[in-house]
Amino acid sequence: MTARSVVAVSAGLSQPSSTRLLSDRLVAAAIDDLQLGGDSVTVRVVELRDLAHQITDTMLTGFAPAELREALDAVAGADALVAVTPVFSASYSGLFKSFFDVLEAKALAGTPVLLGATAGTERHSLVLDHALRPLFAYLGALVVPTAVFAASSDWGTASSDSLGARIERAAGELANLLRAVPRRAPADPFDDFVPFDQLQP
């Protein structure tokens, strides 16, 4: 049995939030899959709404206050990440982007990531591929092939390609990828400093 940590980042703003709802569904499906494979899973959900002021403060001061620091460390140390944002003005929300802006540059390199987005209409669904995927490609994350988009209509419609089926498929991909990639050691600049003889030009 392997212990796995899954961290979810949800950028929904309202209460209740369909973004959080989608995030919870994705996480639950991933846990089911991992547990079936014999793994134990710990879950941490990061609600960006609660950290919105601290995220802005960090942009202005350059350091993260304690609560945000703890969330950033959780994301950096996660074995797998679920990241879900509402669609605002044809892209991820500014808060969602800001969180990943204050995250250390290489924190997600090599981390399996499952992406999700929500919006009022499915006409926004390509935001996943045109906005979120490039962002996570830049961050060096390993994004699973299926990303899950949930429009308002998805929450009330049953079909062969229902939301539930897409969630299962995406979560299965995340679990498979997680089992396949080696565990990353989190970077510590104070342990991994460059000795002086290698600093010289």
């Binding site: 802005t56 403060d57 202005l60 001061t61 350059g62 350091f63 206050p65 304690a66 600049p189 104070f190 400093f193 460059v194 000795p195 002086f196 600093l199 010289q200 030009p201």
Partner: protein, 381 residues
Amino acid sequence: MQFGIFTVGDVTPDPTTGRAPTEHERIKATVAIARKAEEVGLDVFATGEHHNPPFAAPANPTVLLAHIAAQTERLVLSTATTLITTNDPVRIAEDYAYLQHLADGRVDLMMGRGNTGPVYPWFGKDIREGLDLAIENYALLHRLWREDVVSWEGKHRTPLQGFTSTPRPLDGVAPFVWHGSIRSPQIAEQAAYYGDGFFHNNIFWPITHTKQMVALYRRRFEHYGHGAADQAIVGLGGQVFMRKSSQEAKREFRPYFDNAPVYGHGPSMEDFTEQTPLTVGSPQEVIDRYATMREHVGDYQRQLFLMDHAGLPLKTVLEQLDLLGEEVVPVLRKELAVGRPAHVPEAPTHAARVAAAGGPSDSTVYAPADDVTGASPEVAR
């Protein structure tokens, strides 16, 4: 343990009046502040180096420091910081050695890389080379003060052939050097390698971060054989605003905090004072806060405070220095002496460094008789 102040020379409008000082006013105020520092019994005055508005700090700190040296008796004059990246190390060697002579040794300096990208090309440099410049330039500077004749070749300036930097350091002893950095472990490593001092600005970030930087420096200082980790030379910045009562201090400082360069319009003053060493309150609160710094970084050698920024009027700054010098520092001196192990060194001074070198030696390099023809200088002795 030395206590003092450091300034960045910002020309910031006073948020309570909307009026910004002229450069002339700011420069004269800086001199008045330095003189006041000596008058109230502080040990150190350090100035930043700047090349762009909104700053009226000297482009070459030795200009200001020489002026202050002429008007003070005891104050140690230093920098916060001298840009080791964009300055020619040859000029740093010459200017600061000259200052050492003028100030009878009351000089040390702190190396920094600068944090403003556009400054680099003004001096023909590239910020992407910043770290490389800091390493190479300092290596050259270090030699120029210790070897009378230097031949050198590097990436970032023209080679030197049989070059003598003049004047030679006072008494044959180079000025003490601190390396300042907020977040670069490489600079802590550089300071440790040379056995120089490490200074953490300690203003903008939580003490937990400062602690990690200092711990790395101390560990590597010992690794390079300069002494035990707790004998490494550590300086910290800090920032305070005081009035007799805590409420009065908070009320008066709040508009300056809310509009301050760097962190203004960000976190609340309450959050920021909790998260960073900024302390706004009574002198006793400042004493209580700064007496705990050594719990994080170990017994250290120098504590500098930023007192004159964010548009605070000169009159207020001078009042702050009275409080600092009369009520805070004497108590901190006593408290920080308690339990300080005997093997932890005092802050480096010129006199102590000369004594450690076995006494003063005149290191004047005399040119050969026919130097008008341009022959390379040689060591006369």
